[in-house]
């Protein structure tokens, strides 16, 4: 082993991951805002006390969970279907795979704008179609009840290809003779899916779940561009709230507190999911 | 003496792989290191090449202590079990890479590579990739690479194990000829006793990292110093007779023969192999293997006999040979 070869990478990682995290923890116990000319002044945990009674923070936390969980679950379900479809043989399979991959490769900013335009009232295609059929406008992005789901749809559109690809890779590791042996035993297609495909895909599904949940929990670009967090902060994610606190309200101390709190929530939730998955494995007969 | 191993010991995580190994190999001599898998034979080779560093002991090549010399500077020619040809380079490039690194002129490189290719009868393959060659051809390229290194010692790690049985027999004399061509000591690692006996001037039998016996194939066959060596050398395997008064007797199948006034035995299985026939017998000594002339008619029950002077005697406790 040549540790010196590892050094540049470790230094860079420490600089970009290590230092910021330590700095956030430190800043979260200081006031650093316009009031203090952005100079950090210790405040005996005032940020944390404020956080606990900040209803916007908790609303955003619930929204972030709601967003992450719904989009990840939808993505997994759609991705499994897409992967099974793409694993079959058909004409132009290569082209179809490339097309499927496109949404993933596009920058979030571009696709967020596209979806914002699609959901636009009154000029977007959805509203236009409603008008064409003389139906009532549903005002998607300005409705506090459904705007968040529009962001979920956009997120699902963008990131499903990634999971589909991982699951497809998993599907390709399952040897064909397993299915043949199962058929000889008299199993039908659905039970083959349940007894062979799902259990063997399990690690890939969990991997996709893990990756995507972490990303979805940090969602920023999509929300900032599609809705700006509105209407009435109903689509605001924790990272967007932290961003607004830092760059709009210039409150670095409180922004850091939100960031650290987000880390903690994420870790707790990950552990919770981990335990839940282990508990429910047997119930779902996924072994 | 051109290779000397002195008190070599090597361990992985507190587990001794090699214990206090002493071996000498002369110039031009081929020594086979024989043993079952995990006996430390490949590790010995890797320690000589410098790919592993022994915990104790010294390695001398041409009477120079190379124990602390880097493998890059050791000048050993090694043929790996997988041949380890560089898959992205043509055969010619595989062979000239080492020469290039040593700063040999391009013209000289080409000259040496083309001469070794013709010796190996690989001329027409120089532009092919290793993946386009057969197993036997790859083995020859690996050997050519070792020869071009102009090494002080050759190390061959199971060079035939990836070839089929027929090709192996074909290549044996060729390998022998090419290896001697360098007039350097050759270490040949194998788990196949037949190959070891065919290739080597002397054989070192290793067991659990210990040198069990070292000697010519004939010495090992005739005077095995332990039950382990006796069982490892010679096919079909030697018959170990039941313990009697702290003594274990063993008799080779080829020394047992049918004889009217002998021990009664019953045939339970027979293999007619053309060159000989191997008969599995049930007798008062337990199950015995007998190897005899293929033309002899063997009834289903018979009497067998062997000359007591052909018996090997071992101590039942130490499993070592007792002089007889």
């Amino acid at each position: 082993m040549y540790p010196i070869l590892l050094l540049p990478a470790l230094i860079l990682l420490f600089g970009v991951f290590g230092i910021p995290i330590v700095r956030y923890i430190w800043l979260s116990f200081h006031t650093s805002s316009v009031l203090t000319d952005l100079l950090p002044i210790p405040n005996n945990g005032a940020n944390w006390i404020r956080l606990f009674s900040d209803s916007r923070f908790w609303q955003d936390a619930i929204q972030t969970f709601r967003f992450a969980i719904s989009s990840v679950i939808l993505e997994i379900l759609i991705a499994i279907s897409i992967a099974i479809l793409l694993n079959q043989t058909f004409k132009n399979r290569g082209i179809v795979r490339t097309i499927t991959l496109l949404p993933w490769a596009l920058p979030t900013t571009i696709m967020a704008l596209s979806w914002r335009w699609i959901f636009n009232t009154p000029y977007g295609p959805i509203e236009q179609i409603l008008t064409l059929f003389h139906l009532n406008s549903i005002n998607i992005l300005s409705s506090p009840k459904i705007a968040w789901f529009a962001t979920v749809i956009a997120d699902v559109w963008k990131t499903t290809p990634f999971i589909a690809l991982i699951i497809l890779a998993g599907l390709q590791t399952i040897p064909e003779d397993l299915y043949e042996a199962f058929k000889l035993e008299g199993g039908n297609e659905f039970s083959a899916f349940q007894k062979i495909t799902l259990p063997l895909l399990q690690p890939y599904i969990f991997l996709g779940l893990l990756f995507r949940f972490a990303q979805a929990f940090g969602v920023f670009d999509l929300i900032q561009i599609m809705t700006g967090g509105g209407p009435a902060s109903t689509t605001e994610s924790l990272s967007l709230y932290a961003y607004l606190n830092a760059l709009r309200y210039l409150d670095f101390g409180y922004s850091s507190t939100i960031i650290i709190a987000t880390f903690i929530l994420m870790i707790i939730f990950s552990l919770f999911t981990w335990i839940l998955i282990r508990q429910t494995k047997s119930l779902l007969s996924i072994r | 003496m051109s290779l000397k191993l002195r008190n070599i010991s090597w361990k992985i995580d507190k587990q001794w792989i090699i214990r206090d190994l002493n071996i000498d190999v002369k110039d031009g001599e081929c020594l086979a290191i024989l043993g079952p898998s995990g006996c430390g034979k490949s590790s010995t080779l890797r320690i000589i090449a410098g790919l592993e560093k022994a915990n104790e002991g010294h390695v001398y090549i041409d009477n120079i202590d190379v124990t602390n010399t880097s493998p890059v500077d050791r000048k050993v020619g090694m043929v790996f079990q997988s041949y380890a040809l560089f898959p992205h380079l043509s055969i010619a490039a595989n062979l000239s890479l080492g020469l290039k690194i040593r700063g040999i002129s391009r013209k000289e490189q080409e000259k040496r590579v083309s001469s070794i290719l013709s010796i190996m009868q690989l001329d027409q393959y120089s532009d092919r990739l290793p993946s386009e060659l057969s197993g036997g051809q790859r083995q020859r390229v690996a050997l050519a690479r070792a020869l071009l290194r102009e090494p002080s010692i050759y190390l061959l790690d199971e060079p035939m194990s990836n070839l089929d049985a027929q090709l192996r027999e074909e290549l044996r004399p060729e390998l022998r000829r090419l290896v001697i061509y360098g007039e350097k000591p050759v270490l040949y690692v194998t788990h196949d006793q037949q190959e070891a006996m065919a290739m080597a001037d002397r054989i070192a039998v290793l067991k659990n990292g210990n040198l069990e016996q070292i000697g010519t194939p004939e010495q090992l066959y005739k005077f095995p110093t332990s039950i382990f060596v006796a069982s490892f050398i010679g096919r079909p395997q030697i018959n170990i007779l039941p313990v009697k008064k702290g003594l274990i007797k063993a008799i080779r199948p080829e020394h047992i023969q049918p004889k009217d006034e002998g021990i009664p035995a019953k045939v339970i299985h027979r293999e007619w192999l053309g060159l000989n026939q191997i008969i599995l017998l049930e007798s008062s000594f337990g199950t015995l293997r007998m190897s005899c002339d293929p033309s002899v008619e063997i009834p289903s029950t018979l009497n067998i006999y062997w000359d007591a002077k052909n018996e090997h005697h071992f101590d039942a406790q130490t499993k070592k040979r007792i002089k007889n």
Binding site: I110, G218 | G77
Partner: protein, 271 residues
């Protein structure tokens, strides 16, 4: 079979429709944008493209900026990740597993949350508003995944190959140059493309670091064109911008589909 074809069509439509709508909008006159299904006269125009290409700075400038950042970050990442991955593949089992776990955790980390501290650091050492400086966080953020992908490529190489090179007399750097790099070239290619895509698509750090409108990257430029108010957005122009911004990516996906797929799935299978 019929059912399968229908599903494939659905998949293709689902993947392409939002983008097709952008293309359609980008060629529409302002009047037809407002009535996409009914307005008939004076339907098509190139005005939207002309507008963004003749703006100051012209739109291609952002493409150039993104390309520059993308290439430098990819180069830095590969240059640092390759030796690190090699070193990791030679480490003892226990150590390498621990390091790989840490790298995985870093790869999973929602990096968006780092923007504030990174911005502070950039301002403190005076590298905000510097296009090349953006490649430092980009390289660092792609580093965990890059090291993991390359490490799995190195670990897949048979040990005997490198040992054969050692015995042939090749030193460490000669081995890396002549044996290891050529052999893991496919993994380097797919890692490069994934790193490039990340850097091309990155938004929050580019948004906070760069304020000079000549230096902003494509993603920030597009978000700026869209502006902040939903009602004042010049839809035609931003549709044209998204189309132009997407073209390089579509080309990359078309050309390197194999490498992208193998890069993404390698990580999944080995991880």
């Amino acid at each position: 079979m019929r059912k399968q074809n229908n599903l494939i069509c659905l998949l293709v439509l689902w993947s392409l429709l939002p983008f097709c709508w952008q293309i359609y909008t980008s060629f529409s006159t302002p009047e037809s944008i407002l009535n996409p299904f009914t307005y008939q006269e004076n339907r098509w125009t190139l005005q939207n493209y002309i507008q963004i290409l003749s703006a100051n700075p012209p739109f291609w400038r952002y493409l150039y900026n993104s390309l520059l950042v993308g290439l430098t970050s990819t180069a830095i990442t590969i240059l640092i990740a390759t030796p690190a991955a090699y070193s990791l593949s030679k480490a003892k089992q226990h150590l390498s597993n621990t390091l790989k776990l840490l790298l995985l955790a870093a790869a999973l980390f929602p990096y968006v949350l780092l923007f504030l501290s990174l911005l502070e650091i950039a301002r403190a050492i005076g590298i905000a508003n510097n296009l090349f400086a953006l490649s430092i966080p980009y390289s660092a953020l792609s580093m965990p995944l890059a090291v993991l992908l390359l490490n799995s490529a190195f670990s897949d190489l048979p040990n005997e190959l490198e040992e054969a090179a050692i015995v042939e007399g090749l030193g460490l750097f000669q081995r890396i140059r002549w044996i290891l790099i050529p052999l893991i070239a496919p993994a380097i290619a797919s890692t490069s493309i994934i790193v490039f895509l990340f850097s091309w698509n990155e938004y929050p750090i580019a948004l906070t670091w760069i304020s000079d409108s000549k230096l902003i990257t494509l993603t920030v430029a597009i978000a700026r064109i869209a502006g902040s108010s939903v009602y004042s957005v010049p839809y035609g122009a931003y549709a044209a911008a998204t189309v132009l911004g997407a073209i390089p990516l579509i080309l990359i996906v078309l050309l390197f589909q194999k490498q992208i797929v193998s890069g993404l799935t390698q990580g999944a299978i080995k991880g």
